[in-house]
């Protein structure tokens, strides 16, 4: 009996040794696998498809140009994990990509609520994770393998408020007071809180921040309350359905602020523009990417044209963000000369890109570096305005469309 136990232990030990010993040296991988955690089905599948398009184009480019040169021309293979837009599915898909598909790095997960727990899974398995998702706390957990090159909620809120104040100074009437209407889930609460802080810092009186129940059937009371304080500025942080309802009910209840701004979310989705038509004219919003960036940075215009030719649509804010994450991984792979997780992670952490013509600068900043939390401190956002059913890029001045003029006040043409 004792003897049998010993034999089993020996066999197990040998098996263990065999799995530890890797016949191919890490540096000579013939294929690099990048896991993509995205909503490919479910209510947000449209976004997942756009992300897949952008990444497919980027990966095809790298492979056609001879793969990763420092790895002897290793080709890149994208492996997709479908989150269905659900947090728990995102986590299990992330684990599958890591343990079964053995991906070397990950990009994900579009919704912050999905990316937050999924990136924790990547951290646990020590696989580098490039975030798309703006929730601040994703990079504030002391993780070593989680990075975010683009703006977080704080940066987006700051850009929106600074942009509003700057644009308001050049127009009249200026903004003296504001109300913030935000939906009451995690995103709305955290982003409205930050907007209040930046507004007060800019000397704008914030009458109140109201958190309304998400997907409410009626929001008249909210609008009536706002109307009572006669704000110059209404900021709304809403998902699409609420954004439609608020915009219509503001019109019905004759709440016509000087400026109507949105923290992102529903107000910047194509469906909003299509459905609201004239009522959307003059709404200002924060975003991280818009095709108009190409007017200031020529290669971006060309890259976007290629994307349009291939897929019939421009990059979106999120697909551009996924593309950026992909290029950061490629850049790090070239420098790391290996796919080993630890060294790849260190190479990503040492990213230092200042050339605006680098492909990782599809979302252009002064610099692309990561601080010790994994966030790019130099990331910025931009302010766009809906004019005639299209977005015009107005702020910051350095990348604004030269021929774009701000529409001021809100509904200037129809009021």
């Amino acid at each position: 009996m004792r003897h049998g136990m010993l034999r089993i232990a020996t066999v197990l030990g040998l098996v263990g040794l065999a799995t530890m010993w890797n016949p191919t040296p890490a540096g000579a991988a013939d294929e690099v696998r990048i896991g993509v955690v995205s909503p490919m089905t479910g209510p947000t599948a449209k976004f997942g498809q756009a992300q897949k398009n952008a990444l497919t184009m980027a990966a095809d480019d790298v492979n056609a140009a001879g793969g990763i040169k420092s790895l002897g021309g290793a080709k890149i293979r994208l492996v997709f994990g479908d989150t269905r837009g659900e947090a728990d599915t995102g986590v299990t898909e992330t684990e599958r990509l890591i343990t079964r598909e053995k991906v070397h790095a990950l990009i994900g997960a579009f919704q912050s609520g999905v990316g937050f727990p999924s990136s924790a899974m990547a951290e646990r398995h020590q696989v580098p994770w490039l975030t798309f998702g703006t929730f601040d706390k994703i990079t504030e957990r002391g993780f070593k393998y989680v990075f975010r090159a683009h703006a977080n909620d704080t940066i987006k809120a700051r850009t929106l408020i600074e942009g509003l104040v700057a644009l308001g100074k050049r127009a009249s009437p200026p903004i003296g007071s504001a109300v913030i209407l935000a939906e009451n889930t995690e995103w709305g609460k955290s982003v409205s809180d930050k907007q209040r802080g930046f507004l007060e810092k800019a000397g704008v009186k914030v009458h109140f921040v109201e958190n309304y129940p998400y997907a409410a059937p009626d929001l008249t009371s909210l609008i009536v309350k706002a109307k009572g304080v006669k704000p110059d500025l209404v900021v709304a942080d809403s998902y699409l359905g609420d954004a439609l309802l608020i915009t219509r009910q503001m019109y019905e209840q004759e709440l016509r602020p000087v400026a109507y701004a949105a923290g992102g979310g529903g107000h910047v989705q194509p469906d909003f523009l299509k459905n609201m038509a004239k009522l959307s004219d003059g709404i200002l919003a924060a975003t991280m990417w818009d095709a108009a960036v190409g007017k200031a940075v020529p290669w971006i215009a060309k890259e976007n044209e290629r994307h349009v030719a291939k897929f019939g649509a421009p990059f979106t804010e999120d697909s551009a963000g996924y593309y950026q994450g992909f290029q950061i991984i490629v850049d790090a792979l070239e420098r790391a000369k290996t796919t080993s997780a630890k060294e790849l992670r260190d190479a990503i952490a040492a990213t230092n890109i200042t050339d605006v013509n680098h492909k990782a600068m599809l979302l252009p900043y002064k610099a692309l570096r990561f601080d010790e939390t994994g966030q790019n401190p130099n990331a910025t956002a931009m302010v766009v305005q809906i004019q005639g059913g299209k977005f015009r890029l107005l702020y910051p001045e350095s990348i604004a469309e030269p021929d774009a003029r701000v529409v001021w006040p809100y509904l200037a043409t129809t009021r």
């Binding site: 309304y212 009626d218 929001l219 008249t220 009371s221 009536v224 359905g241």
Partner: protein, 292 residues
């Protein structure tokens, strides 16, 4: 004060829509003792029908009930006949739990089918009445929501006449009061259930017609209204038609007025607190009849 009057008025108007949905819920509950979780989904189906009629045929939402009401009645009757009745026949309990779960399953299936076919895009319909308002005594009244109140009153009256003065209506009430006795009196209870379910689905056609000009259309839209309708049905009295109508208006007004003083999300807490308090005093609901 004007703000309060404005909020209360708007609350009353949206409350009328809640009431319409609660009435539909109550017809099924009153006859079968089943809470129909698919009610919100039927409303969604009605809204998409209304939307496509407008988009493809140019049919004004206020005319669409001529088409959607019979269609939804047929759909409801079919659902009852194909899914609910076979289960109900086996379920002997007075309050059939498995049927309740079945309606929940149906709701999930229908909602996902809608997601598949209609996609998750939000749609709105802008008609001549959308965003129309008029002012009276300093109040801004939304025309499409006022139409909603009118439709709710008319539908309630129609239902009252149907239940009180037609043989079929009396048969529905009799089945609701006692299934076995009704059967002994020669009433085909399963046909009656079909009528009740169909009727309740058909009412969603009216609710949809009222909602479409001012609300958005989305596969998940029913959920927003269903929870409110549950509260209203219990508040007004399970199975009580006037209770559902009154409860709807009450909930709308409370919600609207309270939200003026506290955060809109807190107003929901107040609403549910009032709900619990009323049940504490009157367990059968405001207009409900105490059962043995």
């Amino acid at each position: 004060m004007r703000g309060l009057a404005q909020a209360a008025t708007s609350g009353l108007l949206i409350g009328a829509v809640y009431g319409l949905i609660a009435l539909g819920l109550n017809i099924v509950f009153g006859t079968m003792r089943v809470v129909n979780f698919a009610q919100g989904t039927l409303l969604m189906a009605g809204m998409f029908l209304t939307y496509w009629l407008w988009e493809l045929g140019g049919v004004h939402p206020y005319i669409s009930p001529l088409v959607t009401v019979p269609l939804l009645f047929g759909l409801g009757f079919a659902i009852q006949h194909l899914f609910v009745s076979p289960l109900l026949a086996r379920e002997r309990a007075r309050e059939p739990m498995s049927v309740l779960l079945l309606t929940l399953g149906l709701a999930l299936v229908l909602e996902n089918v809608a997601l598949l076919f209609f996609s998750a895009d939000f749609k709105t319909v802008t008609t001549d009445v959308s965003m129309q308002t008029f002012k009276t005594a300093g109040l801004i009244v939304s025309v499409p929501r006022l139409v909603g109140l009118g439709a709710m009153i008319a539908t309630s009256l129609g239902l009252y006449l149907f239940f009180m003065h037609t043989d079929l209506g009396r048969a529905v009430r009799a089945t609701g009061q006692d299934r076995e006795v009704a059967r002994l009196m020669g009433i085909n209870d399963f046909r009656i259930y079909g009528v009740a379910y169909g009727l309740s689905a058909a009412m969603m056609g009216i609710a949809a017609a009222v909602l479409v000009p001012f609300f958005y259309i989305h596969p998940g839209v029913g959920t927003s209204f269903l929870l409110k309708a549950f509260v209203i049905v219990v508040l007004g009295g399970l199975g009580s038609m006037p209770g559902a109508a009154l409860g709807g208006l009450l909930v709308g007004v409370i919600e609207g007025a309270v939200a003026l003083w506290v955060q809109a999300a807190v107003a929901q807490i107040v609403l549910f607190a009032v709900f619990v308090a009323i049940l504490f005093v009157r367990p059968a609901g405001l207009l409900g009849v105490e059962r043995r």
